[in-house]
Amino acid sequence: MGMMVARDRSNIERTAEATGEYAIETSELVKVYKEGQIKALNGLDLKIHRGEIYALIGANGSGKSTAINLITGSIFPTSGSIRVLGYEVPQKRHLVATQIGVAPQEYAIYNDLSVEQNIWFFARLQGMNRTQLEKRMAELLPIFRLDERRKTSANELSGGMKRRLSVVCALIHRPKILFLDEATVGIDPVLREFFWDYFRALCGEGLTIVVTSHVMDEAERADRVGLMREGKLIEEGTPGEVKCRHSVESIEEVFIKLSKGVVIDG
């Protein structure tokens, strides 16, 4: 698969209300924690196109999670603006909530529920009925290799299975943007390959995917990469462009080069 995927943007689905060129657009975004002691975001300007896979990379503490939390409306910004699918966040976060799916770094599933009960719960929160759910589960469960595990309690699943379940819960309502926070960690290489093909196909149907990772080969697969440091975007472009600019062979080398001098507190 090529680094730059030419994409026909005409097939991107748009709702009547949600207009705007970008799936996600932030401007001058600042987030200060604990009365000015920690500046997690320091003027982030992020523009993510509809239907692209965007990898947000950076060392621990560089502000990736804060950026995602702000975009999903889970925390409020100190200053700056956020637009998701054309909606102002946090003001319209209840509308955005129906259009996004989030698979957090922690599995964030209910261990005492079965696989299908977990999915059912998140589907209900999105207003799906039983018929829609069954149809959707029939599509997703085989892809994520969970169809044999429908009745299994989540606490009996392996780490990789929990991760897959978490992603299914995020995809169940056909979101327009999918956030994957280190979401392919713990998934075996063969399956990961398969996932990326699947995600790529979803993007062809208009889904925007935002991946945060510090596993750099994930970044290589993205359409564009944004590298964060100290709450700002310090490098951005297609993986090819970024590598070319720094005359290196891999994103990992770019990462190491640009992260030098930063105390990694993770």
Binding site: Y33, K34, N69, T72, G73, S74, I75, F76, H94, A97, T98, I100, V102, P104, E106, Y107, A108, I109, Y110, N111, F122, L125, Q126, G127, C169, F179
Partner: protein, 383 residues
């Protein structure tokens, strides 16, 4: 070859050190472990240390007095007055004089007993001492739903009789309020135990379930879904209420099915009261769960609230005999009203109307706790 000891005091010490470290790092748990026993001991001490005193008692002294015929010396007797004077000096009771036929005030809970000294009291006693075979009778209409109080009232009356009249036999005719039954120890304790069990268990289970959301990592994900904080809160409340109703059903089934407890009032009202009472604690638990960082802290809150409530609820000794300031606190404790409500329906056969004050207070408490829970519930990640 490396030799590994099968038992090492060092390893034991390491585990001990680690556990102590963990406890000392959780300041809230540490504070609770030190403050909780102190608070509980103090409250029980104050609640149980005090004598049962100043029990409100209604007395009608109808005694007309008696003057012996001039032929017999013309001496006047006022045994009723003497009895009343002695009774008034007894700290166990607070004597209010009034019409015995307003003894319905005992049924309403204003007085614990109504004592009737008959008009011919002095006359009969005088004639008796003259050798006639007569008996003076004092009627005591008493609330037997609290055996301690009942014993104190009868005790005070016996002492007063002894002091004022010496050992001349007076019959004390004890009549029981609320349908004339004398309740067994089990009858009178069960309503209070129901209140305690519901407080403790509903709080405990609710706190565990609600705080689990916070520790499972699912909460941040819920913030990204259309679920609002209020919807989440009401969802918890409904599920926990269903659980509360089940608990109520089990508790009542055992009380009635196994112990054959008498329910004087309406069973539907009893069930309704129990569900309302459980709901207060569901809302309280949802509110309190905001202040617990983990399940351990949440679980500690249940006994921290249930035990002092037990001391203050009047289930051990009547609230009216607490020192005034402790009695003041007791009126803010849901269990105090819980005991009143359960005793009211089960023993006294009260109707909704007669319990309207307690029902009102408990409903108000439910509304306040729901409001507090709604105000404090988090709808986003707090830094």
């Amino acid at each position: 070859m490396v030799k590994v000891k099968s038992f090492s005091a060092l390893r034991v010490a390491a585990v001990c050190w680690r556990v102590m470290r963990q406890i000392s790092r959780d300041r809230r748990t540490l504070a609770m472990m030190l403050i909780m026993p102190a608070v509980i001991m103090l409250i029980f001490g104050f609640a149980l240390g005090g004598q049962v005193e100043h029990i409100p008692v209604l007395v009608e002294n109808q005694d007309a007095g008696y003057t012996l015929p001039a032929t017999a010396g013309g001496e006047s007797f006022h045994y009723g007055d003497a009895l009343l004077t002695s009774l008034k000096t007894d700290d166990r009771v607070a004597v209010h004089e009034g019409d015995y036929f307003s003894k319905t005030a005992v049924d309403k809970g204003t007085y614990f007993a109504a004592i009737d000294v008959p008009a011919n009291f002095s006359q009969i006693l005088a004639m008796k001492s003259d050798g006639q075979n007569l008996n003076a009778t004092i009627i005591v209409y008493v609330d037997s739903t609290s055996p301690t109080t009942e014993a104190s009232v009868i005790g005070a009356l016996q002492t007063a009789l002894q002091m004022s009249l010496g050992s001349s036999g007076v019959t004390v005719d004890e009549q029981f309020a609320f349908g004339g039954t004398q309740f067994s120890g089990l009858d009178v304790s069960l309503p209070a135990i129901i209140a305690f069990v519901l407080t403790f268990l509903v709080l405990l289970i609710s706190l565990i379930i609600v705080s689990r959301e916070g520790t499972s990592g699912t909460l941040p994900r819920l913030y990204t879904t259309p679920l609002s904080a209020m919807e989440r809160l009401l969802g918890y409340a409904l599920a926990l209420l269903a659980l509360g109703v089940l608990m109520v059903a089990v508790v009542l089934a055992i009380c009635i099915g196994i112990f054959g407890v008498v329910v004087e009032g309406s069973f539907a009202l009893l069930f309704g009261v129990a569900v309302l009472y459980a709901l207060v604690h569901v809302f309280l638990a949802i509110f309190l769960s905001n202040f617990a960082k983990n399940e351990l802290q949440a679980v500690q809150l249940a006994p921290l609230i249930a035990l002092p409530s037990m001391a203050l609820s009047g289930m051990l000794i009547p609230v009216s005999s607490f020192p005034d300031w402790v009695e003041g606190i007791a009126h803010f404790v849901p269990m105090y009203y819980g005991v009143e409500l359960f005793q009211g329906v089960m023993l006294k056969g009260y109707s909704v109307g007669q319990l309207s004050f307690e029902l009102g207070v408990v409903t108000l408490m439910a509304v306040i706790f729901l409001a507090l829970a709604a105000i404090t519930v988090k709808d986003r990640i707090t830094a």
